[in-house]
């Protein structure tokens, strides 16, 4: 095993091993970007400074109808398209198509010479990332180099002859273990789950205390334009389970689903209409479709049971008003007011307001009525953090930056203000877990625990920029410029 590892590190040894998906091959590309530019404003220095090193880290050809050498065309193509700004998830060279995704600094590339099903290929690539992440915590160059044997084993197991096979990481983990050496010993026993009807749960799980934890997490996405109008808003919710139950329990979850209530003729209390409901494969879809019952045999440990989207008009829970004034060649003054527009009893935790500033700003000075503000120069923003933000309250932050008298000529983007927060014990949509029934043959008592959290998926407040922003004589103002401190 050591020998293998040593060989792999040398970049010119294309130690490729093979895979395919209906004539596709998967490769994992390694990409380092070294930026040596001392002065980021000097364009020349920058182009010289960037050096790209790519090499094929691992490769598996499943069918062999695409030449292994074809992948050499991927890198130049990628770089060329990136330079021209025409990057696209499908790149083609001759009759070979490269479908790629990027995960941190790795590229996962599938190659095909057929008119194959694009959505399936991308799903598989993401599945690959998911499985590797479950195995190695983080999918990066090192984790692959340290686990070549397992990676090959997994690639073999996930796909055979170009067709996806066992892709459930829970099941894979039972017979492909982290230690390559152990694999030889443990080989002879294939878990029953591979052949089982319930492929996501093994038999014979035992816990002393039977418990199940249910997290209802809702994240709200709001886009506010410069005039203060809510452009779009939606709620994306998910119900996560942490199951610690023995045996093969049968669970039933009751929600205050409006369709269900309408079916059963009850209409007391608040109900919600869910759209785009997605379930974990364990949920019996046929039952849900016939009578909206969510019944399932849960996978062991943590899993996402379902996700949904609610398309209602929600007002931003934390409202931001900002005045950003840029006096060219001298200073930028920023004033941001944040107002909690949720119930007084609730408290938002870890509120983060990110305000963009010009990239050449310097000497920051802050004044806040609560929380702390910090300048993050590498991201060109001020991060204002408030640990706890009670509903109905209003806070202010003022920032002052100096600007150099000589300005850079780079065009700058117009990032919006982003707000992040988390409100526990509260869901915007009002969704509730009414009951969780747990039935097991042995008839043990089990406790369900429920927790609600609302997060911001990204509240974006676009700033109003004078059109002249493009060439730097900026003066950008947002609604409510009459705020007094």
């Amino acid at each position: 095993q050591k020998l293998v590892k040593a060989k792999m590190i040398s970049p010119n040894c294309l130690f490729c091993h093979i895979i395919r998906q209906r004539s596709q091959r998967h490769l994992i590309y390694y990409h380092i970007r070294e930026i040596k530019a001392a002065n980021p404003h000097n364009r020349e220095a920058r182009t010289y400074g960037i050096r790209n090193f790519f090499f094929v880290l691992i490769c598996r050809n499943y069918k062999g109808d695409v030449d292994m050498a074809e992948i050499d065309h991927f890198l130049p193509l990628l770089m060329q398209h990136e330079e021209e700004g025409l990057l696209c998830p499908v790149l083609s060279h001759g009759n070979v198509h490269f479908m790629w995704i990027k995960h941190s600094n790795l590229y996962l590339v599938a190659t095909t010479n057929k008119n194959s099903n694009a959505s399936l290929v991308y799903s598989f690539l993401y599945k690959l990332v998911e499985v590797f992440t479950e195995y190695f915590k983080e999918l990066e160059e090192e984790s692959i180099q340290d686990n070549f044997v397992v990676v090959y084993e997994l690639l073999d197991e996930l796909m055979d002859f170009g067709f996806p096979q066992t892709t459930d990481s829970k099941i894979l983990q039972e017979y492909i273990t982290q230690q390559g050496t152990k694999l030889e010993v443990a080989k002879s026993k294939v878990p029953t789950t591979v052949t089982n009807a319930v492929s996501w749960r093994s038999e014979g799980i035992k816990y002393k205390k039977n418990e199940v934890f249910i997290d209802v997490i809702e994240s709200i996405n709001v886009l506010v334009n410069a005039n203060g109008n809510v452009m779009s808003s939606d709620i994306v919710g998910s119900i996560k389970l942490k199951t610690m139950l023995s045996g093969m329990p049968e669970l039933r979850l009751g929600l205050n689903d409006r369709v269900l209530f309408a079916l059963t003729g009850r209409d007391k209390g608040k109900t919600v209409v869910m759209e785009d409901v997605k379930f974990h494969q364990c949920v019996r879809l046929s039952r849900f479709e016939s009578d909206r019952t969510i019944s399932f045999i849960p996978p062991d440990g943590e899993s996402e049971l379902m996700s949904y989207r609610i398309n209602t008009h929600v007002k931003p829970l934390i409202w931001i008003e900002s005045v950003i004034e840029k006096f060219s060649h001298s200073r930028v003054e920023i004033m941001v007011k944040a107002k909690g527009q949720f119930k007084k009893q609730s408290v938002a935790n870890n509120v983060e307001v990110r305000v963009p500033v010009p990239s050449d700003a310097d000497s920051p000075k802050f004044k806040t009525s609560t929380g702390t503000a910090k300048y993050v120069p590498e991201k060109n923003m001020v991060v204002w953090t408030i640990k706890s933000f009670p509903g109905g309250k209003e806070f202010l932050m003022r920032a002052h930056f100096g600007l150099p008298s000589v300005e850079n000529n780079e065009l700058e983007g117009k990032p919006p203000i982003t707000v992040k927060f988390e409100i526990p014990y509260f869901t915007v949509s009002g969704i509730q877990v009414r009951y969780m029934k747990i039935i097991e043959k042995s008839g043990y008592q089990a406790l369900p625990w429920v927790r609600y959290i609302t997060q911001s998926g990204g509240t974006l407040i676009r700033l109003q920029y004078n059109m002249t922003y493009c060439f730097r004589n900026v003066f950008y103002l947002s609604k409510g410029s009459d705020v007094e401190m």
Binding site: G85, C88, S116, N117, F124, D160, F163, D276, E412, M467
Partner: protein, 576 residues
């Protein structure tokens, strides 16, 4: 490779394979088969374990064995197909393990490739449909894809199948949803009403896919929505906000979203949409900004006043890439909406200073040529171009400049005569590029034929000749794109389209270059002139001057053929 090739490895594999009970150790069996299947020299040893593997009790062995046969066939594509194996595989379609079932389909597809793949009859179809729910996402997609080949015998059967599939149509997994829709479209190709209902039904899951976390999935969904919109332009009208771009989205998604937004515009949302698009025009990414501007131009075909206001406002920014895109957009807009020309003529004044790239300058020249008499400063603008022609690098600009000067000369001879002379002189005497020189010679000889002849050739159209006949694009029949749905093709399509639409003169976009390839003598004279004009314009873009020459030889009334070899050009019109 770690486990192929070496003698030790081969010896060990052979030993493992000669063990009659190799499949009793399930994982070893799998590993051995996987390795061996790539070594042609070991093929003879594999058949026995594979046959035994098909009958094994463990599902995981059967899975490997089934695909093993497909691989074996792939290794020796010319070998005879073993009927017994094929029969065995058909029997295994009834295997209790869903993965074995799907693998059988895949293997049969591969082995029977020559005969058109696995045979799908009624019992197999019904069996597969019944067990569809048991398979995972990958298996479902495979089954749905293969079922596309089945033709139901009666309408009742068809509708039974459709109702069975209805649940998968709104599946939360985009690949399954897309595969089901694809199957629907192929099954009911004769029933447009059912197809429409299916498309309505997938709207929600498709929109959900557009908001998926993975950008590649989002991109794929957007491309497929574009396909649907070709037949059903009103499908997503109410959901236009879902296609607004996020700040951090990559350029390829933004550009696709804008293409979709253009299709969704209607009286109610036009103000919101334009407001949103206006915001994208100042994007840092120049390509995104240009795409936004041309999107506004497209909307301008139906809402010209609002759009022109925005476009004129953008000129005020005096940004190089924005001005260039705006001028190109205006040119394309004027070509289809001649009523905009007044505003455009006013807006054009003074923008030549900001224009740098050849595309933009070409567009400006085209506009000057067509509306030269209304733009008071046109000759002065042109003069700057002509003075700089020596340092001009772009061939396209030079060609356009020649045509523009000629056309301007026709409507404002007094101001232009002098510079036309200088330009023709330069192009004929000093220019090294054959295309430009030929073009200049052509114009020069044209002038010799008299002003009327020249006018006949050069007074081209100012707007799209098809205008008025065609309002909006007709909805395409679904069958046009049904076969490419859920494949790679839609992802590649759009990008090519936008490229050609954003480049070149408007005539080029609308003029179908096909007739060019087989010019026949049957053309009557009136056609000839328009065609010649079109050819000249077309030649600007494609540099096919020789074709025009061939053509002109046929019609010597316009052009006197001369020998080109080593000919010293005729004297040029000089200002003496």
């Amino acid at each position: 490779m770690p486990y192929l090739g070496s003698e030790d490895a081969v010896r060990e594999l052979r030993r493992a394979l000669s063990n009659p009970n190799v499949q009793s150790d399930q994982l070893r069996y799998r590993n051995t088969i996987l390795k061996v299947i790539r070594l042609p020299s070991l093929v003879e040893y594999v058949e026995q374990p594979l046959t035994a593997g098909l009958k094994d009790r463990a599902a995981c062995v059967r899975r490997v064995a089934v695909l093993g046969w497909a691989k074996l066939h792939n290794l020796q594509p010319n070998s005879e197909i073993d009927a017994a194996v094929v029969n065995e595989l058909y029997t295994l379609l009834r295997d209790p393990d869903p993965v074995v079932m799907v693998n059988c389909l895949r293997a049969l597809e591969e082995i029977l490739k020559e005969e058109g793949g696995v045979a799908i009859n009624k019992p197999i179809t019904h069996h597969l449909l019944k067990r569809l729910k048991e398979s995972d996402v990958w298996g479902q997609c495979e089954v749905l894809r293969i079922l596309q080949r089945y033709r139901p015998q009666s309408e009742d059967e068809l509708f039974d199948i459709l109702s069975l599939l209805d649940a998968s149509l709104v599946s939360p997994h985009p690949p399954v949803m897309a595969a089901t829709l694809s199957l629907f479209l192929s099954l009911c190709s004769g029933l447009p009403a059912v197809n429409l209902a299916a498309l309505e039904r997938v709207r929600a899951p498709l929109l959900a896919a557009c908001g998926s976390v993975s950008r590649e999935m989002r991109f794929t969904a957007l491309c497929h929505i574009q396909l649907l919109l070709r037949s059903l332009p009103g499908l997503m009208g109410a959901h236009y906000k879902r296609f607004f771009c996020g700040y951090a989205e990559p350029a390829y998604i933004k550009q696709r979203k804008m293409q979709v937004l253009v299709e969704l515009v209607n009286d109610e949302n036009v103000a919101m949409l334009l407001d949103e698009l206006k915001g994208y025009c100042t994007d840092v990414n120049a390509d995104t900004a240009q795409a936004a501007i041309s999107a506004i131009g497209r909307i301008g075909r139906s809402y010209s006043d609002r759009c022109l206001e925005i476009l004129t406002g953008l000129l005020g920014l005096k940004q190089e890439h924005i001005t260039s895109a705006v001028v190109q957009t205006m040119r394309d807009l004027v070509w289809v909406c001649p009523q905009c020309s007044d505003t455009v003529c006013l807006a054009l004044e003074g923008c030549e200073e900001t224009l740098q790239d050849s595309q933009g300058r070409q567009a400006l020249l085209w506009l000057l040529a067509v509306y030269g008499e209304r733009i008071s400063s046109a000759p002065y603008t042109l003069e700057v171009f002509i003075d700089g022609v020596r340092s001009e690098a772009s061939l396209g600009v030079k060609m356009e400049l020649l045509t523009t000067t000629m056309r301007l000369f026709l409507c404002r001879p007094a101001e232009t005569q002098d510079m036309l002379g200088r330009l023709l002189h330069y192009c004929i005497e000093e220019e090294t590029d054959m295309c430009v020189r030929d073009q200049a010679l052509l114009y020069y000889r044209l002038l010799h034929c008299g002003i009327e002849e020249t006018q006949k050739v050069l007074q081209g159209r100012r707007s799209d000749p098809s205008l008025g006949v065609l309002i909006g694009r007709p909805a395409e029949p679904i069958s046009q794109w049904a076969c490419s749905f859920n494949t790679l093709k839609p992802l590649r399509q759009g990008s090519v389209e936008t490229e050609s639409a954003s480049r070149g003169s408007p005539e080029h976009v609308t003029f179908d270059p096909k007739p060019n390839t087989d010019l026949s003598d049957t053309l009557d004279c009136s056609q000839t002139e328009t065609l010649l004009y079109k050819l000249i314009i077309f030649a600007h873009k494609t540099h096919v001057v020789y074709k025009i020459q061939c053509f002109i030889i046929k019609y010597p009334t316009i052009y006197k053929p001369t020998s080109r070899a080593g000919s010293k050009p005729f004297g040029c019109p000089r200002r003496d």
